[in-house]
Amino acid sequence: SLRLAGEDIWKNKTEKVNGELFTLMYGSIVSQLCRDYQRCFPKVNDQLYTMGYNIGVRLIEDFLARTALPRCENMIRTSEVISKCAFKIFLNITPQVSNWSTDKNAFSLVLVENPLSDFVELPMDAMKQLWYSNVLCGVLKGALEMVQLDCDVWFISDVLKGDPQTEIRVKLNRVLKDEIPI
């Protein structure tokens, strides 16, 4: 039902834009960041993460308004919502959920296709350090924080670096409690 809901929202309730435009814009942002930080790729990764975080804390509002989904009972449900609804609605992709930890608080998202990295070839010096799509980790971090889930999100592997697949790891640290105003 989550998959059907995600597809229904994508088809009928989402205004779409050409994916190449999105890809080229993101590519120009990353290449400009590399120039601005004089090819210090750890700083570029941090900046992409921060940008993604700022997007995520606002994007969650749009997501909840579109889907009207209730609170998830556990991380399993959360992972399904992320992969079948969130990624579908915003990027029209459905990553696979895999590699669950024994306590079911950590999982991996395997991106079979990634519109951010279409037609991208990393330069040799960036291949070891740059996580090209790190904005996605920031978005997930920010969005989950707004629904009281303090998570660590990071890249495990990326096809742009020659790895067999693109994998993002999501690990729940703790459930946040709302602070009651004084």
């Binding site: 080229l24 590519g27 120009s28 037609f119 991208v120 070839e121 990393l122 960036a126």
Partner: protein
């Protein structure tokens, strides 16, 4: 054999390759003295190519041009494949063909023949240029590639050579 170059908007070589032909068991390229002249031969044809590039009149009668004439003839002609300029120059039995991309990159090739006069199959050469143009567009889509940078990707080189084997030999 052919000598193929992609020339940037500042007349800088972006990509160079020599394609050899199979003669029995041997790969035959240009003779050594001609190999050194190829860049100069191509460079000499740039004026003609640029003249065609900015020519508005589609019915060009000048020079050694065969094919469809000026680059801007799409204003008057309904077809869309006007990038291929055909044979633009000759040099002692060698033929120079050219193709212009929409951003002004010049794909130029010297066609040699070890035995006699050069026979150009326009359709095959045009198809080769169009496929290389597509590869170039994919290179441009890479955000880490700056326009006019040399193309050093081994994947690009191997694909261009495969296209040359398919269309030119």
């Amino acid at each position: 054999p052919q000598y193929f170059v992609i020339i940037g908007s500042k007349d800088n070589p972006v990509y160079e390759a020599e394609f050899t032909t199979q003669q029995g068991q041997l790969q035959q390229g240009f003779p050594q003295n001609l190999k050194e002249l190829n860049p100069f031969i191509l460079h000499a044809s740039l004026d003609i190519i640029e003249d065609l590039q900015w020519k508005i009149n589609p019915n060009s009668q000048s020079g050694n041009v065969s094919g469809s004439g000026g680059f801007l003839r799409s204003r008057n002609v309904a077809n869309t494949d006007n990038c291929y300029l055909g044979k633009v120059d000759y040099f002692y039995g060698l033929v120079i063909t050219a193709y212009l991309t929409y951003s002004g990159m010049k794909l130029v090739m010297v066609h040699g023949n070890l035995t006699g006069d050069v026979q150009i199959d326009d359709n095959a050469v045009k198809a080769f240029y169009q496929e290389v143009h597509e590869l170039y567009i994919k290179t441009l889509m890479n955000p880490f590639y700056q326009i006019n940078d040399p193309i050093t990707s081994p994947a690009f080189d191997s694909r261009v050579r495969a296209l040359a084997r398919k269309y030119l030999n």
